[in-house]
């Protein structure tokens, strides 16, 4: 029972971090069809900005800088790098984002060195025990912050903006004729996904410790989670990522942590073979 509760809490925490990145993916994907693979690297940059770059500044300021940095990277990379290519060929744009994530990782490695370094959580890692559950301050912060962010996302999406986004995904040209400024909406969405990636980086670093290539893995696993739930809707992508975090925790706890990668990617392949739209998603009809 005690292990179960611990694993549940641990799984929820990692799941929440995956879900932040997954939400970043889904926000972009549902409106533009673009998968920004560099979100993981943006998270990594945000981690370094918070815990390694400006150690003299107050932590709140550092976090703000980190999130702003991630947003800036997100928007600028779209405007300067992906846009022209992705508008012609979405897949080429996605490959670019893959290349760009490597560039980010390597630049950080050159500047900050490749050795992983620990990051101390701003809220500390004091553990509280509630009955069988023992949970650290940081874990609570992860759960609380991501819950707030998801709630805010829900509010944004149920507003007029949300309708515009759905219209864009259905049919971009139609959305344009309806007077939706698709260019501007896309910029906002990239900014929004930057916020989520930034938050993921700030929250993940104390758990995973900082390393230049932590982003690649995070990007990939979060994508697996998003696909597991279904990339087509933001809610199912988030749920899928949380589910993956839980699955991982229970697998590592009850079976073996050596075979974690096999589990994660095995699940990914199984989902894509059996139900490409995700376990929770609906199959999108493709118009001939």
């Amino acid at each position: 029972m005690e292990t179960f509760v611990l694993l549940l809490a641990g799984g929820l925490v990692t799941g929440a971090i995956y879900a932040l990145v997954a939400a970043g993916y889904a926000v972009l994907y549902t409106a533009t069809g673009f998968v920004n693979f560099a979100l993981g690297a943006q998270a990594m940059v945000a981690g370094y900005l918070t815990y390694a770059a400006f150690v003299d500044l107050p932590v709140v300021v550092r976090i703000l800088i980190a999130v702003a940095g991630s947003v800036l990277l997100s928007v600028l990379s779209w405007v300067l790098i992906y846009r022209r290519v992705a508008e012609k060929d979405m897949l080429a744009g996605v490959i670019m984002s893959f290349g760009f994530s490597i560039v980010l990782a390597e630049v950080v490695q050159l500047v900050a060195g490749g050795i992983p370094r620990p990051a101390r959580s701003p809220v500390g890692s004091t553990a509280h025990s509630l009955g069988p559950l023992s949970i650290s301050n940081h874990s609570i912060a992860v759960l609380a912050v991501s819950a707030v962010l998801f709630a805010l996302l829900g509010l944004v999406l149920s507003s007029r903006g949300g309708t515009a986004i759905r219209a864009m995904f259905q049919d971009k040209e139609m959305a344009e004729t309806l007077g939706i400024p698709t260019h501007r909406v896309t910029l906002w969405l990239f900014a929004l996904s930057g916020v989520f990636a930034g938050a993921a980086g700030v929250l993940a670093a104390p758990i995973l410790s900082l390393s230049p290539h932590m982003g690649t893995r995070l990007a990939l696993i979060a994508f697996v989670g998003a696909v597991l739930g279904g990339l087509g809707t933001i809610r199912s992508a988030i749920a899928g990522a949380v589910l993956l975090g839980l699955l991982e925790a229970f697998f590592a706890g009850y079976i073996s942590s050596d075979w974690r990668a096999t589990l994660v990617f095995g699940v990914f392949i199984a989902v894509l073979v059996v139900r490409p739209a995700g376990v929770l998603g609906r199959i999108a009809t493709v118009k001939v």
């Binding site: 290349g99 560039v103 990782a105 075979w259 095995g266």
Partner: protein, 343 residues
């Protein structure tokens, strides 16, 4: 229709005029292969050693040419096939004690089966999903190998010797010749396919899957075929790599390799085999001698930047540049006359 990365400005598959113009490229190819075959005999040990590595990477680059350029399938499964080939070569020659002449046929068969399986698993997915599925296969294999004592676990295996016709592949000249043989075979197969029914079926599926089906192309069957061939040659490349590096460990599945091959294929031009070969040589040389210039920390940065910059400014790669209208106008006069005559 999104499977193709870019639309070249010039027809790029089968040579429209067919046989009449087939002569010249074949002669050029034969001369180049002959020159490459003589090269290891004349150069020093370290150059030959580097040349062998270039050939191994070139094999992988060509497998991406087949998958991405001709079939329009974005695969990141190179590492999975390469790594499996690397381990398979050790198992086959060391544990089973077979000579490489038979052993490498087995390695190719293993790669072919694995390629076929990867194709079968990804039959229902396209684009990014397919890419990440194939990438995931690599991660799984890495994980499995790392946990298998039989394959040496995290340390991998070393101290094996791979023989070919009774001679050890320690000799980089022999390695070069075998690599060159595999590369030539692969090039011949690709060139032949491009000019025939299979090449057109690949082209049709890449450009419009719906139209392809409507002219009777069983797209799934051709996808499996392409994956099988690419798998066989990628595994052979992996096997040669074992002989080259004398160690195999889980790093043969690393994303580094996938990334560098992707960079080579994109910069060289996915639809251009010569472009890929040239860039494979150039980038592999750069990578190997980066230490001498003191820039080894920048290797991956360069690869990542090349992917981004090439897609942004040179979407058809160097091979596409070579067939751009201006260049074609310069060199294409006689060719055009040849075409007219054949029509």
């Amino acid at each position: 229709m999104t499977d193709t990365l870019t639309r070249p400005r010039q027809p790029s598959t089968t040579d429209p005029a067919g046989h009449r113009r087939a002569g010249l490229p074949v002669i050029v190819a034969v001369v180049l292969v002959a020159a490459a075959a003589i090269f290891p005999a004349l150069s020093d040990y370290s150059t030959t050693y580097l040349f062998a590595y270039i050939l191994i990477i070139a094999l992988l680059g060509l497998s991406l040419h087949l998958l991405m350029g001709l079939m329009g399938v974005f695969s990141l499964g190179q590492a999975a096939l390469f790594g499996t080939g690397a381990y398979a070569a050790v198992v086959v020659t060391e544990d089973l004690g077979l000579d490489g002449a038979i052993g490498f046929v087995l390695v190719a068969a293993v790669g072919a089966v694995l390629g076929l399986l990867m194709g079968a698993v990804t039959l229902r997915v396209t684009d990014l999903y397919l890419a990440l599925t194939t990438l995931a296969v690599g991660y799984i294999f890495e994980n499995v190998v790392r946990n298998s004592d039989w394959l040496g676990g995290p340390q991998g295996r070393s101290g094996f010797s791979i023989m070919f016709f009774g001679r050890s592949l320690d000799d980089p000249r022999l390695l070069c010749w075998i690599g060159l043989g595999a590369l030539t075979l692969f090039l011949a197969v690709i060139a032949s396919m491009r000019r025939s029914k299979i090449g057109r079926a690949f082209m049709a599926t890449r450009e419009s899957p719906m139209a392809a089906r409507s002219i009777g192309v069983d797209a799934r069957r051709y996808k499996l075929l392409g994956f099988t061939i690419a798998g066989a040659f990628s595994a052979v490349a992996g096997g040669l790599y074992s002989a080259w590096s004398l160690v195999v460990d889980p790093s043969v599945y690393s994303i580094d390799l996938t990334l560098s091959v992707l960079a080579i294929a994109i910069v060289g031009g996915l639809r251009s085999a010569p472009g890929i070969l040239v860039v494979a040589a150039a980038l592999t040389y750069f990578r190997n001698s980066a230490g001498d210039f003191g820039v080894s920390d920048y290797v991956l940065l360069v690869y990542g930047s090349l992917i981004v910059l090439s897609l942004r400014f040179l979407p058809l790669g160097l091979g596409g540049l070579a067939s751009s209208p201006a260049v074609v106008r310069l060199v294409g006069r006689s060719g055009r006359r040849g075409r007219g005559g054949a029509a």
